[in-house]
Amino acid sequence: MMIWSVIDILICALVVALAMAALYAPALRQRVMFFIAFGLVVAITWARLHAPDLALAEAIIGAGLTGAMLLMSLDHTSDMPREPASYGLRIGSAAMGGVLILGLMMIVSSLYPIHDGAPTLAVSQRQVESGVSHPVTAVLLNFRAWDTLLELAVLLSAALGILNLGPARRSCGHAASLTDGLARVLVPLLILSAGYLLWKGAFAPGGAFQAGAVLASAAVVIHLTGWEKLPRVGLRSLRLLLLVGPTLFVAVGLLPLLNGQAFLQYPVELAGLLILLIESAAMVSIAGMLTLVYLGGHPHANWPIELVNPKEPM
């Protein structure tokens, strides 16, 4: 076990060091780079803490999509050196921050050792009733389905806000033969892995969110390469895409009401099938939402072809 203590200390030190670098590096570009590295080390931390679902999500969303998004926005942001806050203010806020951190650390350490509470025991006892054998999926789509439904609503409102904030960021559009070839290999494989993750989510780490994020990263590849050989996606079908997940979720949630049961209380024998149905629709919508989040605005009518910068030599 000695070796694990060493690894734990190394991981924690790396997380803190990368966080500090991402917060205090002089140039914004450096901070973004450090943030991406931070996200990847955090993904390793989730794997170490036996949370493979989170490791997948963090690597795709936390480091990948957020990193790509931040890199894209760098062009719009100027470093904008503002006058620093007064000395007293800085000392004061640092002192308050120190007190906050120390207090939080003490509270956190007083919580140990941690034992399973009633909800956790209930999850492990009633796992069979959920229709899936992977506990995280059972919690997400059955026991705490309300949370997930509302999360989709949050995502939808963010996507709608972005849709109304103007056109998408321009891609740098290196439509060279190399990136075209890469997209040809990556996009079909990403779609395949999304399907795999979705299916696997019922009994192993994976599920709608990871699968949707993988699909969104396929869209990122398409956007970055300005891929031409793709059917056009109009705004109307985009809206449909965004709505199919939440709508189906609500519809399936309403069905048990006819039997006099509670909202989202699926019948036990149908639960597995219903969860797969909801997850499939949710995956598509999540992919659309995350793509919009990445694009930062509504895509052009001819996305992604219009986004290739006409000034760039092909």
Partner: protein, 96 residues
């Protein structure tokens, strides 16, 4: 478990670690973008390849070995492509 394959696996993984360390040192020490790219592509191809080979040897199910091999191929493809892109960008920026 076959102890011979375990031993071989440990040896190959250690070799991979050696490549990773050497590559990281090179990444820090080398002066310009192109030679750093050279270092990092060695890590991706050789270091990661050895790591995958070492892990394939101790997989209980052969399908897991196939998956690991697939991951290596994907890393190869993407590292080759991104390496080219970064190098092209670096060369284009240089005359300024």
């Amino acid at each position: 478990m076959n102890s011979l394959s375990e031993l071989l696996s440990v040896a190959i993984v250690l070799l991979a670690v050696l490549v990773f360390v050497a590559g990281t040192v090179a990444l820090i020490r080398l002066p310009d973008v192109l030679s750093r790219l050279h270092a990092i592509s060695k890590i991706d191809n050789l270091g990661f390849g050895l790591l995958v080979l070492g892990l394939i040897l101790i997989q209980p199910a052969w399908i897991d070995g196939v998956k690991l091999f697939g991951i290596w191929i994907l890393v190869l493809v993407s590292s080759a492509a991104t390496g080219q892109l970064i190098a092209r960008h670096a060369v284009r920026e240089e005359p300024r």
